[in-house]
Symmetry: C2
Subunit: 106 residues, 2 copies
Amino acid sequence: MFVNSCILNDAYRMFFGTLANESRLIIVNTLRKKPLNVSEICEMTGFEQSMVSHNLKTLEYHGMVFVEKKGKYRYYKVNEKTIQPLLKLIDDHMKEYCCKIAKGER
Amino acid sequence: MFVNSCILNDAYRMFFGTLANESRLIIVNTLRKKPLNVSEICEMTGFEQSMVSHNLKTLEYHGMVFVEKKGKYRYYKVNEKTIQPLLKLIDDHMKEYCCKIAKGER
DNA sequence: TATATATATGATGTGCGATTCATATGTTTG
DNA sequence: CAAACATATGAATCGCACATCATATATATA
């Protein structure tokens, strides 16, 4: 029981940790609009290719994005079922409790 | 516009970063049951007092917990409005996409 | 099959956040 | 007002996650 809750906490920690990164947040937000392959993500974000691949791997491992092979391209899309509504919820939280942060104040 | 989205991404990063920590997750989960003062949190978690205070400060800054002074005690409670349903959403995500992580597999 | 293109993977140095220790501040009670 | 209790804060060390660079793998096309 205690062991299980530790493992569970760790899963949560990793889940949040996955989104606690500016690059990955930008990538996810880019993918929210439509599925893109790696090169397209690089173009749109200005990020380097290997960095994007590393981060996509993390996102995929945590079920936040899915990948689909098309020829030599790999198209990534965001998990519509859970991540999209989750981000929506956090939008609301932000507006109400983190406005000073969202505005860049400290 | 681009500046704003950067700041917004940063707010999101900090939000997730706040929960991407085992100690804080344990503290939040402890508080989900009922409001507690710092000493009580220390007792229940086995954590050191200063560590708990540091982490509570972070949690409070991000609107995840609220504090109420009662004499020499400070009672902390979790944000029922946003954090509670958010954790519920993530429960669902975990069950479906992170079962291997939740089970401790790699 | 050789070359180009697309993507993934491995190794490494580094900055940042977390814990810990020490101490300060605030509050109550004798 | 002094002593005890409750909590906050500052400083410092340390581990880990991230970006980067170099390279490997996979696929397409000439």
